[in-house]
Amino acid sequence: MLKPKTHYDALVVGGGIAGQETALNLANLGYKVALVEKDYSIGGKMILLSKVFPTLDCAACITTPKVSETARHPNIDVFTYSEVEDIYKQERGFKFTLRQKPRYVTEDCTGCQLCEQVCPVVVEDQYQYGLIGRKAIFIPHSIANPRIAAIDMDNCTLCGLCENVCPPKSIDFTQTEQVTQITATAVVLATGYKLFDPTVIKRYGYGKYKNVVTAMQMERQLVPTRPFNNVLRPSDGKVPDNIAYVLCTGSRDATVGSPICSQVCCMYSTKQAQLLMGALPMADVTLYYINIRAYGKGFCEFYQQARSMGVGYVKGKVGRIFEKDNGNLIVRYEDIETGEVAETEHDLVVLSIGILPNKDYQKLFKNVIVEHDPYNYVKQVDELTSPARTSVDGVFVAGTASGPMDIPDSILSAGAASSEAASYLRKVYKQIQPSLN
């Protein structure tokens, strides 16, 4: 386990694209950064995506260089599978507790995956959103960084087979949690977002009807390291040929506590539709939408491209989904073009789930309050001219922690956060040492 320093210039909470970008910018300026990620590897949600709109370059190609740059930077200490808690604002800077949880595998692991071969337990793979199994000892996913295995102790039968086969003897069941008190001059919250849980909308039958999946599950099916040998529907492995997307699932819907637009679903659905038409040339893809929000650079053109490829766009709000005996689904919707309620049969339904605030940041601080906006995102106290500032001096926000946004906006927001944090650090250090350049 990496031994933390006693002091860092900046603590960055969250190792997704925004956290990495912030950490890299600060580290390149010579500041020492602690990057804390609660998951087993850095990369956030972006590293799990297939191709990204509107350029259709693959997400892995874009993130992996950034991930390795972050992991390897001499000024960044990356703490994966670790959590931050009890942050206290002090006269100068912050003190906090770092909890490094045991993965029961040491850094000697070479990522050879022999342990995975011999482990006899299969549980749902969270990185494939439950579509497929993984072992109780596992490397999170094929491009995970660090590429070190971890044991999911809740599902381990303590058979010890992994320990028998591990070539560099990196398995250590006796590993324990390490708790360290650390200080940092500035804090950047890059805690990201949560995906909307569609089981809340019972009418759509997610969790009950096997062939109703989330867009994230579809995203994984479109990645080169996908769970199945092709895009298949989960009920029986059939190659789907008539796929529906239900947009605004958990967005623009005050009844489920999510009144705002999630800003990315229209475009990722449009992208998936294009990728599906490539993967399954015979398939029909229909998007049920309210408004198509193709607002960003190249988005409108991308949307037009999907239409010209033959993706169906139906302006209509989906009311309910029914399952037939053969696993097919009946989508009932109000067709705004005709003003009537209509029904269409599909063999796979994808819910374009929205994004929700990750409220975890609200529990981090002990003696100060990082205020939130009406939707529970981190409040930007000077939204127009200092978008990264929060209600606490010295605490900055980067990426989707302050609201829904796409990848380019997250990266720009992270750029702003690093800029403001760097200015803040210089100001603080100048107070101590006025001669500082």
């Binding site: 070479t110 650079k297 190249g298 978008p387 720009l412 927001s413 760097a422």
Partner: protein, 643 residues
């Protein structure tokens, strides 16, 4: 040349499929290596120490590690080389895991034979390797920011805060850019001027920011880290030392007899030839619009601060980087587009924003009290027949927000929105909801034909095929039609042309990569921000300005820039200067120089990215790339096929 070779077992990952003993023997027998060792884990601390020790005690000239992909451990072993006292480029990594043992786990014999060849080729490469040092270029810790709108001002303050000297160069006589023209802004309802006042006051407190107004960059030379820029500062024709004699200047404006159309109010009002856009504008000093001034001398009679003999000044500045924050132009509808210029009472959103500010009590246009307003969306954006296919992003929210302000400010006004699908993305959704809640009517054209505007008894008629009526046309009479115009690139792109900044399909400045390098351009040291790279709202423009500030500061702060030494070089004996290399180079890294009485190509190493595109096009084979020389590549090929 003494070469040390280390063959990694990677536990069993390599050793299970590649017969390490056999490989080791083959390499030893071949006799090219001075020392051949096998190690359980080359990356382990103990192995690294052993290698450092070997380099020192055995006086090795180069090392080869055959293990995993260089993507994983190239920097690790370059570090080993450095710690042993070797140049990191005298190190070669051979990938016998991902591209050998794992790829051929079904063919152990084949994998072993391949490993031997790969390592032999690696040894060849190491034999022909040359020590390389990163190229260091001195960098001036100063940045020129072009444009003092909200993005430029914010970037300037942030860069100054981070310890970089800033030259802020504004083409107009006044700072603030577009947002000084808007009153209340979404989503905070702050006024544009309030923001600019705050930023300007902050700006002038910095010793490391120099602001030039009425200024333009007219010439640049040099390259990243050290750029020479020539700035022309237009005269203001007023004596800047009398800045605080405000009253005299007010008087001068009053007596000026010349009236011209006021661009600040988009032609809704007139201004004088000596002018300020609004009271208290920054800098708080009027300017004379020389082209329209009749030199009548009236102002000079009341104010001794006028000096019509001022001449343009030229300044030569030295900067490490340039940050463009040149903003946008609002789309100007063509005559007749939705009745613009033909039907009375058709104005653009920007005119309407100014009109609202000029009408504190009642909303009156051309003498007519306004009771109903039709907002027509996507004017100049998402064009079906025009060149602008893109969505302008800010306008749906801006229109809805304006509609809210209208109802808040004036009584009894009805708002009708003629849209093509509302795109109030993200949190801006609540503005759309508020507009609906206050009773605004929103139409959406069915299957996307555009609505039509015609004149009718002094009012305007808007016709739309609406969604809810399944495409049946609806007609509506409105006292005022507001065209919700999008953003277009600045008409005058002289700065972009001067710096050779490429533009995208939409003609805005283009970044290298929307996600990886969103504020960098292919011109090293030139950054872009704000609406100059595409439509953005204020928060987004400021985010990109601050991001660009971070990148620019990162680049120049250290005082030097290091670049990879894998750059191209020219054999001037062979070169006949045919220009092919400079034609194909995406980075303009070739220059023509004179050497020994003939013209030859020379690589500007500070511009070369080491892509090697010039290598195959040279008819004389006079160009090579460090670390990928003909000798290295061809000797590797020899050894790969060697039996």
């Amino acid at each position: 040349m003494k070469i040390g070779v280390y063959i990694c077992h990677c536990g069993s990952n390599i050793a299970d499929y590649v017969n390490i003993e056999q490989v080791k023997k083959a390499i030893q027998e071949q006799g090219e290596a001075f020392l051949v060792k096998d190690v359980m884990f080359a990356c382990a601390d103990s192995s690294q120490k052993e290698m450092v020790q070997d380099i020192k005690t055995q006086k090795l000239d180069a090392i080869v590690v055959a293990s995993c992909s260089p993507k994983l451990h190239l920097p690790t072993f370059r570090g080993v080389a450095r710690r042993g006292g070797l140049n990191p480029y005298n190190y070669v990594q051979v990938n016998i895991r991902e591209q050998c043992s794992w790829a051929h786990s079904d063919d152990k014999k084949g994998a072993t034979a391949k490993a031997i060849r790969l390592i032999q080729a690696g040894i060849e490469k190491a034999k022909n390797s040359e020590p390389l040092e990163p190229i260091k270029i001195d960098a001036v810790n100063a940045v020129a920011i072009v444009g003092a709108g909200v993005a430029g001002l914010r970037a300037a303050i942030e860069l100054a805060d981070m310890g970089t000297y800033v030259y802020l160069i504004e083409r107009e006589y006044f700072v603030g850019g577009r947002i000084t023209q808007w009153d209340k802004l979404f989503t905070t309802n702050q006024s544009g001027r309030e923001i600019i006042t705050k930023l300007y006051n902050q700006l002038i407190s910095y010793k490391n920011i120099t602001l030039f107004t009425g200024a333009e960059i007219v010439h640049t030379s040099g390259s990243v880290g050290n750029m020479q820029i020539k700035v022309r500062v237009k005269p203001r024709y007023v004596d800047t030392t009398c800045a605080f004699d405000k009253e005299k200047f007010e008087k001068a404006i009053e007596v000026c007899p010349v009236e011209v159309e006021d661009e600040f109010n988009f032609g809704l009002t007139k201004r004088k030839a000596i002018f300020k856009n609004y009271p208290g504008e920054f800098p708080e000093l009027p300017a004379i619009d020389y082209d329209n001034c009749t030199k009548c001398g009236e102002c000079q009679k009341v104010c001794d601060g006028i000096d019509l003999d001022q001449k343009p000044e030229y300044l030569n500045l030295n900067v490490g980087a340039i940050l463009l924050a040149t903003g946008f132009d609002p789309y100007e509808p063509s005559e007749g587009e939705y009745g613009y210029g033909k039907v009375p009472n058709v104005i653009t959103l920007q005119q309407f924003k100014r009109l609202m500010e000029l009408c504190p009590e009642q909303l009156v246009y051309k003498g007519r009290k306004i009771r109903s307003i039709a907002y027509i969306y996507c004017v100049g954006s998402r064009q079906q027949n025009g060149p602008n296919h893109y969505c302008s992003r800010y306008c749906c929210t801006a229109a809805m927000h304006t509609a809210l302000l209208v109802k808040e400010k004036y009584k009894d006004i009805r708002n009708f929105h003629f849209t093509r699908g509302i795109r109030t993305y993200g949190k801006q959704e609540h503005i759309y909801h508020e507009a609906l809640e206050q009773g605004d009517v929103v139409f959406q054209s069915f299957n996307d034909p555009l609505c039509q505007v015609s004149a009718h008894n002094g009012t305007a008629i808007v016709k739309i095929n609406d969604f809810l009526t399944r495409g049946k046309p609806i007609e509506l009479e409105a006292d005022l039609v507001v065209l919700i115009t999008g953003m277009v690139p600045r008409k005058d792109n002289s700065i972009g042309q001067l710096l050779k900044v490429p533009v995208g399909r939409d003609h805005f400045f283009n970044e290298i990569h929307l996600k990886l390098r969103p504020v960098e351009t292919v011109i090293d040291g030139v950054f872009i921000s704000g609406a100059s790279q595409g439509p953005k709202n204020i928060m987004e423009a400021v985010n990109s300005a601050l991001a660009a500030a971070a990148k620019a500061n990162n680049l120049v702060k250290k005082g030097f820039i290091s670049i990879e030494p894998t750059v191209a070089f020219v054999d001037t004996q062979q070169c006949q200067w045919c220009d092919k290399c400079s034609e194909i180079c995406p980075f303009d890294a070739f220059e023509k120089i004179e050497q020994d009485g003939k013209q030859v190509a020379s690589v500007i190493t500070s511009l070369c990215k080491g892509c090697g595109m010039c290598l195959p096009v040279c008819p004389e084979n006079a160009i090579e790339l460090h670390n990928y020389t003909d000798r290295q590549i061809e000797s590797m090929i020899d050894d790969l096929v060697h039996v």
